[in-house]
Symmetry: C2
Subunit: 209 residues, 2 copies
Amino acid sequence: MSKNDNISMSVIRRLPRYYRFLSELDNQNVDRISSIKLAQIMHVTASQVRQDLNCFGGFGQQGYGYSVRQLKEEITNILGLNNGYKTILIGAGHFGSALANHLQFDKMGFHLVACFDTDPEKIGKGIGEMTIRDEAELEDFCRKCHVDTAILTIPKEAVEKVISRLYALGIKSYWNFSHYDITGKFPDTIVENVHLSDKLMTLCYRMTN
Amino acid sequence: MSKNDNISMSVIRRLPRYYRFLSELDNQNVDRISSIKLAQIMHVTASQVRQDLNCFGGFGQQGYGYSVRQLKEEITNILGLNNGYKTILIGAGHFGSALANHLQFDKMGFHLVACFDTDPEKIGKGIGEMTIRDEAELEDFCRKCHVDTAILTIPKEAVEKVISRLYALGIKSYWNFSHYDITGKFPDTIVENVHLSDKLMTLCYRMTN
């Protein structure tokens, strides 16, 4: 856990997958696992497992393998999954509702504290365990509640309208489902984009070619 | 369009983004654009634009730039977006409904023909413009309708139960929202995975480190 600075994004993007598999093993009460066995169930090579985990200090012991629970806890800490970053959801449409109702944010480092929309038909209604708030209350709420992250499940044009307000409130981390290019406008933000239509078009390309 | 065989996946994954920007330009009635200007609005370098498009034959003319409509049409063909692959959705929960209601499948190469679920409470109800069908009818429907693709918006365990049936029906292309490793089981399938929780954990890591 001492040398996380120079880890490549491709290794980092594999960490959640390790976390998922180790959680399953832990749920099945598996105590320890060799890199060979772990690689097998993850459909990667044992040398990749060892290399990846060595980036973070290497937790295995020769001839013993990895302690499942310990490795899971190390990865939990590396990913910061206990940090409970205060998160708001902008957009209570189909996707916003699906995320609010479906994802276990608290297990993944985030704590969903509010959901905003501009649609009078939606404001005041329930979403997950929250009540949908008027986007006009954004500033008041965020100043009181010190929000870390915003999830954007609104179209590009709607993000264009609201992004400067969010940035001005000190929110510099985004989970972005729109096609708006946030880092293009605010280079000091941390953004994970989910471009569903791009994925679908890529699938189409791969089927066609 | 003659040499698509050896294109790297990273170039291919950028194509939908070109398609999106060119569609916007076309909607704004922009006739032609230089690689420099296109690069600017896409926040990439002009040399990347030229290199990427050269992979497919290069459509620009020195001193003229690219014809927006022509380039958009070329990319439409390269991606196969007019192919209308027959697609079924497995799982009419929050995410399935969000996809069925929200995405313009027909613009992205797919034609959504049916949605299946196992939940008696859901079967018979509406989703998008379809009626949710009983998963027990899967074989009958797919044999009649020659389905190309399945979208899986069900949990890993549910995919584990249904995937062999889908594969036996000749469906070898999947848009997979579950954590089930389809290519691990069936290496000759084409799969685009969307692992939302992995994205969220990656965001958490980047905020933490």
